[in-house]
Amino acid sequence: MKSHAAWGTSKNAVKFRIPTADNLVPIRLDIEIDGQRFRDAFIWNPSDPDSEIVVFAKRTVKDLKLPPAFITQIAQSIQTQLTEFRSYEGQDMYTGEKVVPIKLDLRVNHTLIKDHFLWDLNNFESDPEEFAKTFCKDMDIEDPEVGPAIAIAIREQLYE
């Protein structure tokens, strides 16, 4: 799944993958059952076996004490997004001169993050996780949930 060249030059076609150091997929869940709404977002490793999906779904439902109907829904949603990602995988991706602007505009609990910066798509060594961690540390953000949210937001935009 990793590309052959860590650096894609302007003419090279590279197998599709998330252009970061590790090929992780952002997953977003937004499920509503019987008036109960469950929203969540996290990062998934597509090389994990599919059995992991159900385990994760069950665990989440149990931890959050959701009704068990959520388990299948969650698992399905994750599965769909993963398959979608995998369907792109076979195709080639052109990575031209790609410095893209990333916009962060998210609200996590009580923290509002608004930011706008440039990101080099060509650089497959880039790591949104590291960025998020450093960001939170530098900005002295207390709320630990902000980090993952930032990482997810960045990944989603890179995915696009």
Binding site: D22, I43, E52, F56, R59, D63, G147, P148
Partner: protein, 466 residues
């Protein structure tokens, strides 16, 4: 910040048996002569003391221990650039920190993964590892993480290597409930003072307890009906009478005995020794006769009970119970192993193969001394059980040969039918040919009929014209 009650430099635990492959730890507690258990008191919120089990004393904030590398290898094998020991340490420390902020409360995986930057699969594995080793969520409580066990199929404990058992004595409570399956324990149970848990034999055998525990942590506690309320001879007599009258209807038997539940009656009946051995007070002669009659009347019942159901020896009773749970094949293999082990201990008598009792006694960590005493009775049981097994084998063979014979017959029949089929087809074809010929003949006849008058006409005309 909280300081740990962790004994200093990590002493390496004894090497794992190489058979463990999954990420589920079969734990070897570090070999210790004295049970250095950090006994779990209910942790007070103000205290700076965090309790972790003794088998996790290797943990340190800055270091990574070899068992971590073993159980979560994905971070250490260099396959993935993002999964390196540094990242692992970050996950691990973050999780533990979060837990220790509020040690009285069990922290859930979902909370943790929301706060850690990383992919949830890896975080979950680290979380599971930490929880299994008691580094988080360790309140020493008796709540077993059953759903987790079920999902991940942890069935390893029963085979863990036997190390020195606990020296603590177990107080026999009046009513014991299994903390694994929440059913009241009857026949025998397993208690672990170390973790304040009680398991029924079923859960113990299945390994249905918290992951961090070892089978050696459990001491067997025999709870027979005698412990709770002794069966008086009168009650036993009533029981036997009732059985004679009602046979298999245990409800009526229980009624007749009065004051005993169905289960108790059945259990008591099973435990009753064979008639000849029943010594006792002067009423015994009557009982003997009754038992003798009963035994003849219900030979099938006795036969249905395993030959090891004779529970004059409580260990054999346990053996019977466990052997029914475990199944013949496993018991055989286990018995073989145990028998060879026993013989190594200096007993030459038992070179024969395969029986359940010695194996289960081994598993139950009985002393060598008591083993020697039991050996005589086990010999008898051995022979009996051997006979039974042979009988079953014979029956199996007969059944199989019967089946093969039938299969052969069916094959022959099929072949015959095929032949018939072919013949029928041929005949059909012949008939069709005949049919065609007939049709042909009819046609030619018609032809001639119509042709003939014309010829006649023609010749007539010809003649006329001429």
């Amino acid at each position: 910040m909280a300081s740990d009650v962790v004994t200093p430099p990590p002493s390496k635990p004894s090497p794992e048996t190489p058979s463990t492959t999954t990420a589920t730890p079969t734990v070897d507690p570090p070999p210790s002569t004295t049970p250095v258990t950090i006994t779990p008191r209910p942790p007070e919120p103000e205290a700076d003391v965090i309790h972790i089990p003794s088998y996790s004393r290797w943990f340190s904030w800055n270091g990574i221990h070899e068992c971590e590398a073993r159980f979560v290898p994905e971070f250490f094998d260099g396959r993935s650039t993002s999964k390196n020991p540094r990242v692992y340490k970050y996950y691990r420390n973050a999780i533990i920190k979060r837990f220790r902020e509020n040690p009285t409360r069990k922290i859930t995986f979902t909370e943790v993964r929301k706060t850690i930057v990383g992919d949830v699969g890896s975080i979950r594995r680290v979380f599971d590892f930490l929880e299994a080793w008691g580094l988080i969520n360790y309140t020493g409580g008796s709540t077993a993480k059953q759903p987790q066990l079920k999902w991940e199929d942890k069935e390893t404990k029963a085979a863990a290597a036997a190390q020195g058992g606990d020296s603590t004595d177990v107080t026999v409570a009046k009513k014991r409930f299994c903390s694994g399956c929440k059913t009241p324990c009857s026949i025998a149970c397993f208690a672990s003072d170390k973790h304040d848990m009680t398991l029924c034999a079923r859960c113990y055998v299945r390994g249905n307890y918290r992951v961090g525990l070892n089978s050696t942590d459990f001491k067997r506690v025999e709870i027979s009906e005698e412990a709770k309320t002794d069966w008086t001879d009168k009650e036993t007599l009533q029981l036997l009478e009732a059985i004679m009258h009602y046979g298999d209807d245990w409800k009526k038997v229980a009624e007749h005995v009065g004051g005993r539940s169905v289960k108790e009656c059945v259990a008591r009946f099973i435990k009753l020794p064979v008639g000849e051995q029943f010594d006792g007070p002067p009423e015994s002669t009557e009982l003997d006769i009754e038992l003798g009659v009963k035994n003849e009347a219900n030979p099938t019942k006795r036969a249905r009970l395993s030959p090891l159901a004779d529970a004059s020896n409580p260990i054999l009773a346990q053996a019977a119970f466990l052997s029914t749970l475990v199944g013949v094949d496993v018991a055989e293999v286990a018995a073989r192993a145990a028998v060879t082990a026993l013989s190594d201990l200096g007993d030459e008598k038992h070179q024969e193969s395969s029986k359940a009792p010695p194996s289960i006694t081994k598993l139950l960590e009985s002393d060598n001394a008591s083993n020697v005493n039991n050996l005589d009775s086990t010999e008898e049981a051995l022979v009996e059980a051997k006979l039974q097994l042979e009988k079953e084998e014979d029956e199996l063979e007969k059944a199989i040969s019967g089946i093969t014979a039938e299969a052969n017959e069916i094959e022959d029949k099929i072949v015959h039918f095929e032949e018939f089929d072919l013949q029928m087809e041929r005949k059909l074809q012949q008939l069709q040919q005949l049919q065609n010929l007939l049709y042909f003949d009819q046609l030619t006849l018609l032809f001639h009929k119509t042709a003939a008058p014309k010829v006649v006409e023609n010749t007539g005309e010809a003649m006329k014209s001429e």
